[in-house]
Structure formats: structure tokens, C-alpha cells
Amino acid sequence: MTEIPAAVEIRHLVKDFKTSFKKQPLRAVDDVSIRIMPGEVYGLIGPNGSGKSTTMKALLGLVAPTSGECSIFGKDSLKVDSRDEVGFLPENPYFYKHLSGEETLKFYGKLCGIKGAKLRERVGELLKLVDLEGASHRRIGGYSKGMLQRIGLAQALIQEPRLVILDEPTAGVDPVGSREIRDLIFKLKEQGITVFLCSHLLEQVQEVCDHVGIIFRGKMVRQGKLDDLISIEDQTELILKDASPELVAEIKALIERDTSAELVRSGKPRTTLERLFLRETRIQETSK
């Protein structure tokens, strides 16, 4: 049986950037290896300047590795054909302001070899998917930040790629827009599309990713399955609904009687500020 090629294979990637003549080159990425299998959603997290974007650019052939190799579905990243099945959304994308949303998608579609009725159909589908049907004839110059991200995501998906690379997909987007982008990532995941993203919003990464890598000062410090990384092995969580104070007291007493177990914390679980914000704005919207 032949082995399925990884969607993303980065092996011992090192990337140095020249600074001035005398100074040592700046090492942006230092021996990073990442393997993402088809259908996985991988989140690369790390502080600003830790090498996330450079890693993505090396994977797309936009920068050449100083050493190491990158490949997409088994094809060398430095070769043009490796980009046949990739969609990329850069951080803070600016598209051609003179084009409308629809024209933008058509332009990228034609670059990928899609033509005629197929192209029109695909553009329509994507505009619907990213909820920009109403703004399809408006010039991109007049788009909001969230709309730009969504049209950016649509252009990334134009040729139905098997891998989507998203660099800070929710940067600068309001919580509602951010949630919409998160939902779109969920849809991609359902369709079996591999997603490789990097983000500062750790909560969102936690929500959508099943594999995570933590990069710091160019080095991969930790990576693996999200559940394995964040579970605290020696603790157990019980969440009760409509529990009476007597029942809670009884459980606590039971724990106290056990010599090895210890109650670390009890109380009411909290929602996130994001969920609160979304719930309240939705209520306001529906009450109009």
C-alpha cells in the first residue's frame, strides 16, 4: 500500500535574513519541522516576530529556505505546481481596490485556469459562502476589514484547493466577523479540507484546531494533538446542571473523606466575553 503524502511537510526549516553588512544574519526560523496530514486543522501559535509568517511563506515558495525542505502534497514548495491545490490568505490582505468583489474572484479564478460558466458558478457559490452577495459589485476599496478578510478567504478557495493556509485570518476583525470566519473554517473542516492557520487569538485556535504548534523565537517549542497538549492528566472535571446545594455539599464531603483526592476548585463555569458579546448583539438584532 502506498503511503498518503502529507498535506504539509516541513523538514528542519531554517531561514536566515540578511540585515546589514557587518551584523550576523537574523535567524527567523530555526529548525522547524511540521507534518500536517490531509483533513487536519493545524494552528501555529506564537508571539509577534516568532517566525509564523516566514514559515508559511517558505511553504508557499515566497521565501527560499536557508536549509531544510517544504512540500505540499509531496510536491516541492519551490516548484510552481505545488501551488495547484493551495489557497492562501495573507495577513491584512489588500486586494486590487479598482476591482469589485466579483471581479476579484474572477481574476484569481482565471489565473488558476477556471473559465466561462464554471467560473461564474464558482464565484457565485463563494460569494454566497462568505456572505458577500450583496456587495459583489462594490469596489474592494469600499470594503470593511471583515469584508476584506472574507473576500480574501473566498479567493483562497477559488480553485477548490485541498489545503488552505490562513495567516492571522481574524486579525483586526470585530467579534461577529471573527466568529463568521471561524464558522467558515469549521465548514472547510467538514469538507475535509486541510487548514494550516496561525493566529494570536488562542481561544479561536483552541476551538477550531485539532493539532497545534507553539513557535517561539523561531523554534518549535511544543506541538501535537490539541487534546493531548491541553489536558491536565492528574485532574478530573465534573460539570453539574441544576445541582442542589445539598448535593454539592455531599460531593465535597465525599472528596474530603478520600485521602488521596483534593478539591482544587468549585463554582459556576463562566462563559467567555466573546460569547457574551455575540449573544447580546444577536438579541439586540432580533429585537429590532
Binding site: 511563506k57 515558495g61 510552481v80 501551488r83 495547484d84 491545490e85 485556469g113 480553485q159 469538507q191
Partner: protein, 309 residues
């Protein structure tokens, strides 16, 4: 999901270059560059009223107007085509890098040579269409003025009792100053020169990081190109006794390779004077234009292929 289901065919270099070229053309058109055609129309109309210094007899008075129309029109065509070629080319590449739109294009299966060739072709398409419109306007006005002049001058000659052969000669002299094939050749030469300049600006913009730098250097090379042949000749005339022949030839070749000799395009001035442009000159200019375009595109590719973003 099968990508083959949506991508009908792997796009050829030609179709991808076409898509990028049409896009670059649309981008420039939507920047409202065609507004300059209104200025051209004003220059063309004004050229009807300019009086050039006159040394010939009264029968040549009208011919001067024809020369004036050609001179001002071809001058304006040169100016607009050179400015458009340099500024538009210098603008497109750094703008894509700055706006990060280049990332999204190169992240698609687009070879870098296709991107460069597409951008250049877009600019050239704009220059070509601009020149075509300007040429139509010039030829139209020139045709009308020539017809009027022929009628006037023939009537004047007949009233003075000139022999038929002299009238025919006068008519031919006037027609030679009107819209001729040589004039079309001169306009095509203006386009060829713009082509060389645009591809040179493309090369500069691949290693420069700003539009301003590219524009300044491109204009500088354009001006140097007008006297580099004289400078070369003068320098090597001085050195003739001292240096080896082959070194001189090699240096001359290298200078000519990098810096085009724009004096070759002075044939346009001869056409304004009413002279005929031989076909072989036009062929030679076309070959020179093609050589520089191919040379500059390959050099641009060489730089751009290694460029990191």
C-alpha cells in the same frame, strides 16, 4: 473534493500572461490615465495655429502647418508614451508588493515570468491603444489639412499659369508632408521606443523598492540613451591609439547591451521633415526593440525569480 472538477485545463503561459496583462491594463485605465488624451487633442488643435520659422516661398506656407501638426503630435506622442511607460511600469510592481496583492498572486500556480510578462504587456497595451487613438486623431486632422492645402495651392498655381508638370510636383510635395506610410512608421517607432523604455523600467523595478527610484533611474537612462552613442564614439576616438581594439569593442558592446541607443530613433525627425522612412530602417528598429524587450524581460526574471517577499 477533486480539484480537477473545477479547473478545466492547466492554463498555458500565454493565457495566464493574458489574464495578468488585461488586469494591469484595466487597473491603469481605472486610474483614469486616458484623460491625457484630452490634452493631446488640445495640443493637436493648437498645432494648427503655430507658425514655424519660414525660409521658403509663399507657396510653401501651408506645408509648414502640416509640419507643425506632425511635429507637435509626434512630440506629444513621444512625451506621453515615455512618461506612461516609465511611470506605469514603475508603479505596478512596487504597489503589488506594498499592498501584498503579490502574495496572493504568487501563491496561485503562477510562474514569476508570467507575472512579469503580464504586467509589461498590460502597460504596452495601454501605450499601444493610447498611440493608436492619438495617431487616428493626428492622421484625421492631417488628412483634412492636406486636402485643403492641395486645393488652395493648386488653385493658386493655376491662377498664376503654372505648367501642369510643376503643379503635379507641387501637389506631390504637399502630399509628402501629409499622412504617409512613413508617418505611420514613425508612430510605430515611437511605440517601439516606449516598449524598450517600459521593459527597462520593469528591470529596474525588480530590484528597486520604490516607484520614485525606478522612475528617476529610468528617465536618467532614457536621457543617457540619447547621447551615449556620441559619448562612446568620442571616448574611443581619443583612446584609439592607446587601447586594444577588442577591449574597445567589448566595452562598446556591453554599454550598448545595457543602455539602448535612442539616437537610432531620430529617424522620426526626418519623417516630420517629409522624408521617406525606408522599410529596412523600420525592420531594424523592430529587431532592436524585440532584442531589448527579450533581454530586459530575461534580466528582470533573473532578479525576480530569486526575490523574497
Amino acid at each position: 473534493m477533486n480539484p480537477v472538477s473545477i479547473i478545466q485545463s492547466i492554463p498555458s503561459h500565454v493565457s495566464r500572461i493574458g489574464v495578468i496583462a488585461l488586469h494591469a491594463f484595466t487597473q491603469l485605465v481605472r486610474m483614469k490615465v486616458f484623460y491625457f488624451l484630452a490634452f493631446f487633442a488640445v495640443i493637436l488643435i493648437a498645432s494648427n495655429f503655430f507658425n514655424l520659422p519660414q525660409h521658403e516661398g509663399p507657396e510653401a506656407a501651408g506645408v509648414n502647418i502640416l509640419r507643425s501638426i506632425k511635429s507637435w503630435s509626434l512630440g506629444a506622442m513621444t512625451l506621453f508614451s515615455v512618461v506612461l511607460s516609465i511611470v506605469a511600469t514603475a508603479l505596478l510592481l512596487p504597489k503589488d508588493v506594498e499592498d501584498r496583492t503579490l502574495y496572493t498572486i504568487l501563491a496561485k500556480p503562477v510562474p514569476r515570468i508570467d507575472y512579469l510578462a503580464g504586467k509589461l504587456l498590460g502597460v504596452l497595451l495601454l501605450v499601444f491603444i493610447s498611440l493608436l487613438i492619438m495617431n487616428l486623431l493626428m492622421t484625421g486632422i492631417l488628412q483634412i489639412r492636406t486636402n485643403l492645402l492641395v486645393t488652395d495651392q493648386v488653385a493658386m498655381a493655376e491662377s498664376r499659369g503654372w505648367p501642369a508638370e510643376d503643379i503635379a510636383l507641387l501637389k506631390n510635395d504637399i502630399l509628402a508632408q501629409g499622412p504617409t506610410f512613413s508617418l505611420q512608421g514613425a508612430v510605430f517607432s515611437v511605440f517601439l521606443r516606449a516598449t524598450i523604455i517600459a521593459s527597462m523600467a520593469l528591470l529596474i523595478s525588480t530590484f528597486s523598492s520604490s516607484t520614485l527610484f525606478t522612475t528617476i533611474i529610468a528617465f536618467l537612462i532614457y536621457f543617457i540613451g540619447h547621447f551615449q552613442a556620441d559619448a562612446r564614439a568620442a571616448y574611443f576616438a581619443d583612446q584609439a591609439g592607446t587601447s586594444d581594439g577588442w577591449i574597445s569593442k567589448l566595452i562598446t558592446l556591453l554599454i550598448a547591451l545595457v543602455l539602448p541607443d535612442f539616437q537610432l530613433f531620430n529617424v522620426i525627425d526626418a519623417v516630420i521633415e517629409g522624408q521617406v522612412m525606408p522599410l529596412f530602417i523600420l525592420g531594424k528598429l523592430t529587431l532592436i526593440g524585440l532584442f531589448y524587450v527579450v533581454f530586459y524581460i530575461l534580466a528582470s526574471w533573473f532578479v525576480f525569480a530569486e526575490k523574497e517577499f
